[in-house]
Homo-oligomer: 457 residues x 2
């Protein structure tokens, strides 16, 4: 384990102070923590302690409590807030950046969220409702609508003055320049602004070739843009190219992490919103559907075996070796599937170059199939004393590994083309396919060449 | 497929211009591209076109070519550079930020990299060699040693002047403040600097409680810090707390992506440096060891089946249903494993709360085992007409799902405690374990209750 982190020490202290009821000391300890550390603390505390710790912090340092909630994530944060009164929640939320407030309100029970919106100041509730009107996982939904913009008619000196006078700015390092109807026309860096004479017009120093996202752009695409072009923030524009918001790099990092988690989870048949410490009942409920699908597909594989029951009855050693064919196919398919799904997610695999990927994976499947088939044949020959069993195993493995490679490449690419998340072609499906096909090829070949296997029992 | 990206159109044009040999037009097209787009172009061009396109760009716009190489990534970039002469390479690399130059030199063949370092200006080669002295994947290895720092004795006005006079600054938004022996003592934001009177001493406006990374800090930990605290950059200090470098958020994004890819790959038995378009031979070579290990473990599972061959010989239907037990255990284990490995990677699962995770996963395994066991029992009873077979299947599934859950939780946690990458407990191993155990429990129970199954054939 890594050295104890700062929060581990704090965690122990919080638990101890809770136990002895030393509220004053506890508040004193909590108020010194960074919101991110408080969020981590919440996630590690047992349910009861978490709630009482949060409520204590809320009563004494509501602003810090809210900052910690933002870092904690909207879903668990909503659970902590849900037993507060709508007017108190409204009071706190209208002090938050409206993108964070919107994410939180979206997770509250509907009755409560309606009541909260009603209690908020019209301006703030309007902003939140605007954001919630955009589809989930789009730039519009996650942007911060409070974006600092400069008029294109200003000089550098006037721009600096405007900046000094502004308050509501999230992070200013790019200064977006707009025309009189708020169309985005350029960008100036804060550093550039300092380097020129104060009377220089913004229009002379601004960059006009700038990268922006539309309100409907998918958040994953936004994240890829920011990452590829090494941006610190990206402006969001409506369909008229009017500046309506900003997405900063810290939000982009969260998106990249979430999307990676989602990819990993989907490949394994786990839903994206599950966490290590989701309640057991919730985890059960979320994983069960995938496992039931797997039970169905495993039954399909079993039915294939059943179709060859007569063959197995004559040569029972086949039951021993058929599992090897299926297992190898499943693992080779998982390798290919992972490379392909990640390649699509990182933008390396596109429709244009997908044929190349299929040929490559088929070649890898054939190559590895031949090597593994030979080794497998030797093992089977050695264990059974029958050379033909070894040959049949080798043939089945070569065919199954090639089929595994092609299926694990084509299926996610096809899903992507149909605009379905390619990671949904999870290992559950692909490995069943290789099970079914592996059993079929191996037992089918064995049935054809049964006379050569008969000496075995 | 998403709408055609900008680079898709450029890609087609580049291929066409290459084919007709229109170099002047090609250069004209290339010089208009962003370095990141050029990097993407390189990765999508066929090998031959990539090399000729790069060389053409290098001859006419070497600075842009180098910027594109940085975005392309050190490993493939080194391949493109390797047939240039050492003195030309030295000339280009000494103009790069030294962290990028170091990453590139590290990937060149050793003879060439030695020659290049010899040809570089002593100051630049010294910086690069310093960086390469730090261990791989540490803050020291990936930091940019050119970091802008202000003396603590300056006023705000003097600081702005210093900033205006500086050239070699990567991204200035945090201004680090150091004492006369370059110990890091504080940080001031550029924005803060603009808001105060010019005669204000830096010491009065700087934040002294700042987050830094040590040169030996693991890059994954650095990334977690930057992400958790929403930083744009993190200063790197040596063991004397002297400021020696900076890591910016764009590098952190690359680390987060790479580490996520590594986790996904390892879980599936794929090595971290494989890409969709790695040459087939290389992919084969990299995946084969995992598959050979799987062949060994699958053989172990087959030997378990073989030990019960006499039982199967009497009730051949067992060969049909044993595959269901193994398959369900494997998939449930993959779900648990994925949640646990990702939980460790995201810092949610620690040594302190791991017991809670084991109990939770065991409970989920038991719950899902009971539900699936009942459904499975009904399926097996229906298909075979023997109630006892159904009961044995159900019992085996419950036991196997619980064992799968516990193993898939304990093994990665134990690996982490031993400082081994938990993702190495890949699905390959865990699913074999569930295969072996599933076959053993199911066939073992069947052997015990053989008289009740005898009516079946």
């Amino acid at each position: 384990m890594p050295p104890l982190r700062r929060t581990d020490v704090v965690l122990d202290s919080v638990k101890r102070l809770q136990r002895i009821g030393a509220s004053a000391n506890l508040i004193n300890l909590l108020q010194k923590q960074h919101p991110s550390d408080l969020a981590e603390l919440f996630s590690e505390l047992p349910d009861r302690d978490r709630r009482s710790t949060f409520n204590l912090l809320l009563d004494h340092h509501s602003h810090l409590a809210m900052e910690a909630l933002i870092e904690y994530g909207p879903e668990p944060a909503a659970v902590l807030l849900a037993d507060q009164s709508p007017d108190r929640i409204a009071l706190w939320l209208q002090e938050m950046p409206s993108d964070d407030a919107a994410a939180l309100i979206d997770e509250l029970p509907e009755e409560l969220s309606d009541a909260v919106l009603e209690q908020m100041r019209p301006r703030e509730s309007g902003e939140v409702e605007n954001l919630l009107d955009y589809a989930e996982e789009t730039a519009g939904r996650i942007m911060n609508p409070t974006v600092f913009a400069l008029s294109e008619d200003l000089t550098a000196g006037e721009a600096i003055q405007a900046l000094q006078g502004s308050r509501e700015v999230e992070m200013v390092f790019y200064l977006y320049v707009v025309d009189d109807r708020r169309h985005l026309v350029g960008v100036v860096s804060l550093r550039r602004l300092l380097l020129v004479a104060t009377e220089t017009p913004l229009q002379r120093i601004m960059t006009i070739d700038l990268i922006s996202a539309g309100v409907d752009t998918d958040q994953e695409e936004v994240a890829q843009h920011v990452a590829n072009y090494n941006l610190l923030a990206i402006p969001v524009v409506d369909d008229q190219n009017r500046l309506v918001g900003i997405i900063t790099v810290d939000d982009v990092i969260d998106i990249i992490k979430d999307e990676a988690t989602e990819d990993i989870y989907r490949l394994a048949g786990v839903s994206g919103d599950e966490h290590v410490f989701s309640p057991a009942r919730e985890s059960m409920r979320k994983r069960l559907p995938w496992l039931l699908v797997n039970l169905l597909t495993a039954t399909a594989a079993a039915l294939v075996v059943r179709a060859f029951q007569a063959t197995i009855d004559q040569v029972v050693a086949l039951a021993v070796f058929m599992t090897i064919v299926a297992s190898m196919g499943g693992n080779a398919a998982t390798q290919t599937l992972t490379i392909i799904v990640r390649g699509i997610a990182l933008g390396e695999l596109t429709w244009g170059n997908s044929r190349k990927a299929v040929f490559k994976e088929a070649a890898v499947g054939l190559g590895n199939g031949l090597v593994l088939g030979m080794v497998g044949a030797a093992v089977a020959w050695g264990l059974s004393g029958n050379m033909y069993l070894g040959l049949i195993l080798a043939m089945a493995m070569v065919v199954n590994l090639m089929v595994a490679a092609i299926a694990a490449t084509l299926i996610p690419i096809a899903l992507r083309a149909l605009k379905i998340d390619p990671a949904l072609a999870s290992a559950v499906f692909i490995t069943t396919l290789t099970d079914v096909f592996g059993f079929f090829v191996f037992l089918g070949l064995a049935t054809l060449f049964l006379p050569y296997l008969e000496p075995l029992t």
